[in-house]
């Protein structure tokens, strides 16, 4: 559907994004784009949209009408009741558009229609743009940090709605987020970007296996746990945790038994994106050295 090859974006002399290998976005793909602030995630989206100048090639048969985007910052006129914003942008009447009415009700947005944009809460503002994006039902949809700045409950509800809406649909989605748990629920592919470089791109499970092994056992980082797990394949993790890579089910069972016998709480994961990304970046940097 869309292929990116040898892409290079610079802001002045600063390299913003460099993609040496080829990245393909296929019909129905759910791609999670992760990386720290300033890594180049939004630059990636802007390149796809043709909003910035780039070197290299983005080849696609998609027309502009086939792509929609929820930007990181979406603003509208503060003076305007939301109803008019929707009707203007979509050039329609809400009362005559059943599909739009369904979407408004789906996101519980009906009570906000008479409010002015400036009086909406952060979550309501995000819902407004999501409705405007979803109604277009384009083949490629980009969400750039939709849930940033929202509280946990609002984030969770919003994500559930997006997941629900796209269930059984074949739109390709690029979902930029700092919240790993969101990506675990929504995406099946990952694009990891760091300091403008692509660290990894591919199927979420395949990348996990390549970087973290078959599964991970994750537990609290305490001196007692550290001593007990000496000799195990401990990989990089957030500092308050210990992550042990298990290469197969036997490894996992053996380690689980040890932890159970020692009355230690642990979590088992085969899709922890946070630990996957920490280790992928670490491996990439080591390769560079």
């Amino acid at each position: 559907m869309l292929t990116i090859e040898n892409l290079k974006v610079t802001y002045g002399k600063k390299k913003a994004l460099k993609i040496d290998s080829s990245i393909c976005i296929e019909e129905g793909d759910r791609i999670g784009i992760i990386g720290s602030n300033g890594a180049g995630k939004s630059t990636f989206i802007k390149s796809i949209l043709g909003l910035i100048k780039y070197e290299g090639r983005i080849s696609t048969k998609l027309k502009p009408a086939d792509i929609s985007v929820h930007m990181q910052y979406n603003n509208y006129s503060n003076f305007m009741p939301v109803k008019y914003i929707i009707e203007t942008i979509l050039n329609t009447k809400i009362s005559k558009n059943l599909e739009l009415q369904e979407l408004i009700d789906f996101f519980g947005f009906r009570e906000c229609l008479k409010q002015k944009y400036s009086t909406l809460s952060g979550g309501q503002k995000q819902r407004l743009t999501i409705i405007l994006v979803l109604i277009q039902d384009t083949r490629l949809v980009c969400f750039d940090e939709v849930t940033s700045g929202l509280d946990f409950e609002t984030r969770q509800k919003l994500l559930e709605k997006i997941i629900d809406w796209y269930k059984g649909r074949n739109n390709a989605i690029c979902f930029v987020s700092h919240y790993y748990e969101e990506l675990e629920q929504l995406v099946d592919k990952l694009l990891l970007i760091e300091e403008g470089e692509v660290i990894a791109f591919g199927d979420k499970r395949e990348l996990f296996n390549k970087v973290c092994g078959d599964s991970l056992i994750i537990l609290e980082n305490t001196p007692k746990n550290k001593t007990l797990l000496k000799g195990y394949n401990i990989i990089k993790s957030p500092t308050h945790l210990i992550a042990i890579s298990c290469k197969d089910i036997r490894d996992e069972i053996e380690l689980s038994s040890l932890l159970i016998n020692n009355d230690i709480n642990f979590k088992r994961s085969c899709n922890d994106i946070e630990i996957l990304s920490i280790n992928a970046i670490n491996n990439y940097k080591q390769m560079g050295v």
């Binding site: 910035i52 009408a65 603003n75 006129s77 203007t88």
Partner: protein, 256 residues
Amino acid sequence: MKRRAINWNLIKYEIRNIIGNIFTVFFGVIFPIVMSLLISQTYKSQVPKEVLPKMMTGIFITMSLISPMAIILIGYSANYSQEIEKEIPLRLRLFGYSEKSLLISKLIAYMIFTIISLLIYSFINIAILDIQTPKLGALISYMLSLFIITVIFFILAHGLAMLLRKYGPTYAVTMILYFAFMIVCGMMGVKVNQLPEIVQSVAYTLPMTYISTDFVEFWEKGNYNFGPLFLSTIFLGIVSLVILFFGIKRSNKIKK
């Protein structure tokens, strides 16, 4: 982003946007009416009865210039610079509206609002003040001049907003221009020929000066030497286009 052509919904949206800005409504609609009524009341007792209609006509013509200045120069530039700051035009572009459609819809909306504002101003002034009946040619020239000045203000306001890109500096610059134009062009109660010579030479480069000082005679007699007005209009137009050019240049540079 489905391509969307300019449509009535978009123009209505822009008109609502203008009405939502209370400052534009106040300075563009209410303020000229109040100013014309106040000044005419002030001078009413100071001039002989026979010249009263001419004086009131002069006030009517002069104060009508405030509307396009306040609505377009201050209101539009403030509104658009705020939109640029919040990336609203980009957001609308990503929903399929081209920059051209957005710009044309804004121009149409602001023209409609300015015309309505001038109509309200005229009705109230005609109803309350003793205004002379104009010669047809003078009336057409007056309306045409206001229309051209309004378009030039739109170009100037758009250029300034694109160049400065932030609400604060844009508002400050247009406010300074607004008051400078009002003082220099004789809209603040002091006639142009009462100003210092150097200020007068600046005043005569602006078309508003000719409208506020000469049009009252033209209104009555129906003939007028358009040369200076024509030249000053071209001058203001060129200055506005130069600012717009640099604004577009800066805007393109930022996009890259």
